[in-house]
C-alpha cells in the first residue's frame, strides 16, 4: 500500500475559525479524549484512501495580523494549504487572495490548495457568495468547500479527504520532490474505512516524524516554477 507523507498548513485571518475547524476534525479522532496539551496547533493524522494512505501533518498558524510576517516559516515545505475564510466576512476572503499570491510567489513546488468557507451555519450573515468563492478557487486550481465547524462534520471531513486525494494525485505526478511516498505492506485497508482519519500515536508521544525531504527541496532547490520571478 502506498503511503504518502505530507505537510498541510492552515492559513487564514484571525477569527475565521481555523482552530475550531481543526479542533472539530481532531475532535472526531480524539473523540474519547481531547488532550489539551496537544493543542490544535499541530497534529498528525492518517487518512486512508482506496489504495493509499496519506499521513498528514497539520500545522496551524497564528492568524493575527502582526504574525502575518511569520507565515513563510510555517508554509515552507508545505505540500498543501487550507485557506480558510469566514463567509460572513469579505475581508477574510480578500485575505485569502493575498495568501494565495504569497504562496504562489514563495513556494516553489506545486501545492494542493483548498479554499474553505467556514461558518456556513451563519447563512443569514453571508457576505461572500459561494459562487464567487468557488470561482476564485477554480481560478487558482483549488477545491472549494463550505463547512461549519459548529455543526457540519461532513464538510470538514470532505475538506481533508479531498486534500488527501489531491496529494495522492500530486505524488503520482512526480512533480513534487518534497512529498514523500513509499510503499508499506503493513496496512490492511479493510480494517480502516476509507476516508477515516486515524489518530497517529506519534502525536501523543511527541515522536518526530521524518519524511525524507531531499536536501534540495528544503533549500528552495532548483525546481523552478514560473511563479517566482
Amino acid at each position: 500500500m502506498k503511503v504518502i507523507e505530507a505537510k498541510i498548513v492552515v492559513l487564514g485571518s484571525q477569527g475565521v475559525g481555523k482552530t475550531s475547524l481543526v479542533v472539530r476534525y481532531i475532535g472526531k479522532m480524539f473523540s474519547k479524549h481531547i488532550s489539551p496539551t496537544i493543542g490544535a496547533s499541530f497534529f498528525t493524522c492518517n487518512i486512508n484512501l482506496e489504495n493509499a494512505r496519506v499521513k498528514l501533518q497539520v500545522w496551524d498558524t497564528a492568524g493575527q495580523e502582526r504574525f502575518r510576517s511569520m507565515a513563510p516559516m510555517y508554509y515552507r515545505n508545505a505540500n498543501a494549504a487550507l485557506l480558510v475564510f469566514d463567509i460572513t466576512s469579505v475581508n477574510s476572503f480578500a485575505a485569502i487572495k493575498g495568501w494565495v499570491k504569497e504562496l504562489q510567489s514563495n513556494v516553489p513546488e506545486a501545492m494542493v490548495l483548498s479554499v474553505v468557507g467556514n461558518k456556513s451555519d451563519l447563512e443569514d450573515l453571508r457576505a461572500v457568495q459561494s459562487s464567487e468563492a468557488a470561482q476564485f478557487a477554480a481560478s487558482i486550481g483549488a477545491q472549494y468547500c463550505e463547512t461549519s465547524a459548529l455543526h457540519d462534520q461532513q464538510g470538514i471531513d470532505q475538506v481533508f479527504l479531498n486534500t488527501a486525494a489531491a496529494l495522492l494525485k500530486l505524488s503520482n505526478s512526480n512533480l513534487v520532490s518534497s512529498l514523500r511516498s513509499y510503499d508499506s505492506a503493513d496496512v490492511d485497508p479493510d480494517k480502516i474505512p476509507t476516508g477515516t482519519p486515524t489518530e497517529e500515536d506519534a502525536t501523543h508521544t511527541g515522536k518526530v516524524e521524518l519524511p525524507a525531504w531531499s536536501i534540495d527541496s528544503i533549500a528552495h532547490g532548483h525546481v523552478q516554477k514560473n511563479m517566482c520571478c
Binding site: 505537510k7 481531547i34 499541530f42 510576517s69 516559516m73 506519534a202 511527541g206 521524518l210 533549500a219
Partner: protein
C-alpha cells in the same frame, strides 16, 4: 546546484516576503537590480531570487574555472540573522552598543581563531606523530558503543560498527572542512552526510532488517553523537568563526532586555501571574528554554524546545490551544527567559540538525514557532504590539531594569517556591530516612530486650530445672576440728557467698570446664558417688597445673597453717607438681563421702586413704581435732562446708589457690587479678558443686551472655570472700598456733 544556502537555511530568510510592508521604502527601491520587475532582496545583493540565482551560478562557474584548487575563503556575512532596524528609535544607542560588542566580538574571534588554530595544530602534531589524521578521542567511540547497546539492543554489531564508522568519518570530514568552508557550505555538507547515511541505511545489507522507524532513530543517534562531539570544539559548528552569531546573541539579549517591559497584555495572551499554576508552568517553560543552551546536539536542543512549547501550550488557558495562543505565549516566554546564545542556538539547529526532522514533525513545528517568536522580537514595533508609537518609544527609552519587574518578581517567586519545594522534598526524604533509622533502632532495642529476656528465661529455666540444692556436707570430724577454728569467724562471709553462688557459677565455670572436659570424663568412672565433685576437682587440678605449686610452696611454708596443708599435699601427692588432680580428687571424694556418710556410703578404699591421711594430719594439729565437736552441725551448712573446703588442708591446691588469690588481692587490684580471683571462687564453688554437674555443664553456654552482669558479682564476691577472710584467716590460723 546550491545557491546561497545561507539564505535558504536562515530562518531570517523566511521573513523576507512579508517584511516589506514594514520597511516603508519606496517600492522602486525594492525592485530587482536587473530591472526584471520582481522584487529584489538586499540579501541577494538587490536581485530577485531568480536573477540572483543566475548571478550566483555565473559567479560559481567563474570561480571554479579560475581557482578550482584554491580553498574558498571564509565569507563574512554581516547580513545574516538579526539586522538592526535602522528606523527603530533606539537604533543609535543600540548601534553604539553593537559597535562596542563588535569590537569585542572581533577580539573574541581573534582569540578563538588563535585557540582554534592551536587546537588544530595540536591535532596536526598528533597526526604527525601517530596516525596520519586527527584522532577522535576514544571516549566518543566508547560512549557510542555504550549508548548503542542501551538504545538498540536488538540490532547487530554490524549496524553498530557502521554507525560508528559513519560518525567517525563524519566528524573527520567536518573538522577537515571547518576551516576551509563557510558555515553554510559546511552545513550543506553536513546535510549531505546525513543523506549519505540515510542512503547507506537503505542500501546496505546490514540494515536490511532494520525497520524504518529504527532507521530514523539511528539517524538521530548518529547525529547526536557526531554533533555532541563537534559542539564541544570551539567555533566549528556552534557559533562558528566567520559568522555573526556571537554578536547577534549579544544584540538579541540586549534587545530582549530592552523589551522586558512587554507584558502579557501587550501580547494579548491570557496569563495570570497571580495564578501559581500559571507561574509554575511558565517557570518550567523558561527553564526548558534556558536548558536549550546546555543541550549539545541539535536533536536535544530541539526536544528542549518541544518540551518548552508543551509547557507553553498548557499555559494557554484555552483548550485546545491553537497557534493563535501558542505564538504570543511563546514570545512572552522567550522575552521573560532571555535565553543565552539564542541566535547561535537557533542557527546551530537550523544548520546542523538533520533537515528532515527539522522541517517536519512536532519538533519542527515548535522550532518554527520559536523562530517566529525570535524574529517577532527582533522586528518588534509599536504596531506589532498594537500600541501608540510614542508610548512604545517611551518604554524603549526607559532603562531596561524598570519594566517587567512584576513578572520578574513573580518568576523569581516561582523559583523560590520551587526551590522551597525541592528543599522540602529533600527534608521529607531525610525525615523518612531518620524515621527509618529510628524504627530500626527501636527494633534493635526490642530485639536486645527480648534477647535479654530470653536469656534470663533460659537461665531461669535452667535454674528451675536444676535447682540449687545445698546438700549438707559433712566434714570429717577431724577435719572439722581444724576448720572450725577458721570457719567460726567466717560464717557470715560464707552465707553471703552462698547466696551469690548461683550467679557466680556460670562465669567462673566456663574456662575451667573447657579445659577440664576431658578430665571429667575420665574421672567419672572413678567417682561414682558424687558427680559434683568432679568439676571441682578438675578445676582444682587445672589450677594447680597452671600455677606452679613449687613456687608457691615456699610461701606456704612460711605460714604456719598453710605449711601443714602443703605438707599434707606433699604427703598425698607422689609428684607435687603434676599429678595433683588425682590426689585432690581422691581427697575430695574422701571428704564428701564422709559428709554424706549418713546417706550414701562411699567406696571403702577411699575411706581408707582418707583416714590414713587425715589421721596423720590431725595428729599434727591436735587443736583442730577438738573444734569440730563443738560445732558438729555447722559444718553441714553449705557455707561452712565451703569454708572448710577452701581451707581444707586436704585440698592443698585449693588452699594454695586461695592463698595465692589472697596474695594477689593484697598486691594487685581485683580487676587485674580476676583470673586469680576466680580461683578462690572455684574453690568456693566446690562447696556448692553439689548443685549437680548438669548445671555446670550448662553454665558455659550461658556464661558469655551473662558474663557482663556476673562480672560485677564476681568482683563483689572475691572482695567479700577473699578480702575479708585474709585478715581473719591469720587470726584463725594464729589462734590454733
Amino acid at each position: 546546484m546550491w545557491f546561497g544556502p545561507n539564505l535558504q537555511r536562515s530562518y531570517k530568510y523566511m521573513m523576507f516576503a512579508s517584511k516589506m510592508p514594514s520597511l516603508r521604502i519606496d517600492q522602486s527601491d525594492l525592485k530587482c537590480k536587473n530591472g526584471c520587475d520582481y522584487f529584489g532582496n538586499p540579501q541577494w545583493q538587490g536581485y530577485c531570487s531568480k536573477c540572483h540565482r543566475e548571478q550566483m551560478q555565473r559567479q560559481r562557474k567563474a570561480e571554479k574555472e579560475s581557482s578550482a584548487t584554491l580553498p574558498k575563503p571564509e565569507q563574512k556575512k554581516p547580513e545574516r540573522g538579526l539586522r538592526i532596524p535602522s528606523h527603530s528609535s533606539f537604533s543609535k544607542f543600540e548601534e553604539k552598543r553593537l559597535r562596542q560588542s563588535e569590537t569585542l566580538k572581533k577580539a573574541n574571534l581573534l582569540k578563538f581563531s588563535v585557540f582554534k588554530k592551536s587546537s588544530t595544530d595540536d591535532h596536526d602534531h598528533s597526526a604527525e606523530k601517530r596516525p596520519p589524521e586527527f584522532k577522535i578521542p576514544g571516549i566518543v567511540n566508547e560512549g557510542m558503543k555504550r549508548d548503542f547497546r542501551t538504545r538498540f539492543p536488538q540490532l547487530g554489531p554490524a549496524v553498530d560498527r557502521d554507525s560508528r564508522l559513519f560518525v567517525h568519518s563524519f566528524i573527520m570530514d567536518v573538522i577537515k572542512c571547518a576551516n576551509v568552508l563557510s558555515v553554510d557550505e559546511l552545513s550543506e555538507r553536513v546535510q549531505r552526510q546525513y543523506q549519505r547515511f540515510m542512503k547507506h541505511m537503505d542500501t546496505s545489507s546490514h540494515f536490511a532488517n532494520v525497520e524504518a522507524d529504527t532507521k530514523e532513530l539511528l539517524m538521530d543517534f548518529v547525529e547526536k553523537h557526531a554533533m555532541t562531539y563537534l559542539h564541544e570544539l570551539p567555533s566549528v559548528v556552534f557559533s562558528p568563526s566567520g559568522t555573526d552569531d556571537e554578536r547577534l546573541d549579544r544584540a538579541m539579549s540586549e534587545r530582549i532586555q530592552q523589551l522586558s517591559w512587554v507584558g502579557e497584555r501587550h501580547l494579548e495572551c491570557k496569563l495570570d501571574r497571580n495564578n501559581p499554576d500559571c507561574r509554575q508552568l511558565l517557570y518550567k517553560a523558561i527553564s526548558e528554554l534556558l536548558g536549550m543552551d546546555s543541550a549539545l546536539s541539535p536533536g536535544d536542543k530541539l526536544s528542549r524546545v518541544r518540551r518548552c512549547c508543551r509547557h507553553v501550550l498548557r499555559l494557554c488557558s484555552a483548550a485546545p490551544a491553537s497557534a493563535d495562543d501558542l505564538l504570543p505565549a511563546l514570545i512572552f516566554t522567550v522575552l521573560k527567559a532571555n535565553p543565552p546564545r539564542l541566535v547561535s542556538n537557533i542557527n546551530f539547529v537550523t544548520r546542523f540538525c538533520n533537515a528532515q526532522r527539522l522541517m517536519t514533525g512536532e519538533g519542527g513545528y515548535y522550532f518554527t514557532n520559536l523562530c517566529c517568536a525570535v524574529s517577532f522580537i527582533e522586528n518588534l514595533t509599536a504596531e506589532s504590539l498594537n500600541m501608540d508609537k510614542k508610548e512604545f518609544d517611551c518604554y524603549m527609552a526607559m532603562p531596561a531594569s524598570i519594566g517587567g519587574s512584576a513578572w520578574a518578581a513573580a518568576l523569581s517567586l516561582c523559583g523560590a517556591v520551587r526551590e522551597a519545594d525541592e528543599q522540602r522534598a529533600h527534608a521529607q526524604k531525610l525525615l523518612t530516612h531518620t524515621h527509618n533509622i529510628h524504627t530500626r533502632a527501636e527494633q534493635l532495642a526490642a530485639n536486645a530486650q527480648s534477647f535479654e529476656e530470653q536469656i534470663a528465661k533460659k537461665v531461669q529455666d535452667v535454674l528451675t530445672k536444676t535447682p540449687l540444692e545445698i546438700k549438707p556436707r559433712r566434714e570429717l570430724p577431724r577435719l572439722g576440728n581444724l576448720k572450725e577454728i577458721n570457719t567460726a569467724p567466717l560464717i557470715d562471709l560464707g552465707t553471703t557467698t552462698a547466696q551469690e553462688e548461683p550467679q557466680t557459677k556460670p562465669e567462673v565455670t566456663p574456662e575451667p570446664l573447657a579445659a577440664t572436659l576431658l578430665p571429667t570424663e575420665s574421672t567419672e568412672p572413678n567417682i561414682t558417688i558424687q558427680p559434683e565433685t568432679e568439676p571441682k576437682l578438675n578445676i582444682l587440678g587445672f589450677e594447680v597445673i597452671e600455677r606452679q605449686s613449687p613456687s608457691k610452696s615456699p610461701q606456704n611454708l612460711d605460714q604456719t597453717w598453710d605449711l601443714k596443708q602443703t605438707s599434707s599435699l606433699e604427703l598425698l601427692t607422689p609428684s607435687p607438681l603434676g599429678f595433683t588432680p588425682f590426689d585432690s580428687r581422691s581427697i575430695d571424694e574422701l571428704m564428701t563421702p564422709d559428709e554424706f556418710g549418713t546417706d550414701q556410703l562411699p567406696p571403702g578404699l577411699s575411706n581408707i586413704n582418707y583416714d590414713i591421711d587425715l589421721s596423720d594430719f590431725s595428729g599434727d594439729n591436735s587443736i583442730a581435732e577438738e573444734a569440730p565437736k563443738s560445732e558438729p552441725k555447722d559444718p553441714f551448712s553449705p557455707e561452712a562446708l565451703r569454708k572448710i573446703t577452701t581451707f581444707d588442708p586436704f585440698a592443698p591446691q585449693t588452699s594454695k589457690g586461695f592463698e595465692t588469690a589472697l596474695d594477689s588481692f593484697d598486691e594487685f587490684s581485683f580487676v587485674d587479678q580476676r583470673k586469680q580471683e576466680t580461683d578462690p571462687f572455684e574453690v568456693v564453688h566446690r562447696g556448692q558443686d553439689p548443685f549437680s554437674p548438669v548445671e555446670l555443664s550448662k553454665d558455659p553456654f550461658f556464661a558469655p551472655e551473662k558474663q557482663s552482669t556476673s562480672i560485677l558479682d564476681d568482683n563483689d564476691t572475691p572482695a567479700t570472700a577473699c578480702l575479708l577472710p585474709s585478715p581473719i584467716q591469720p587470726q584463725s590460723s594464729n589462734k590454733p598456733t
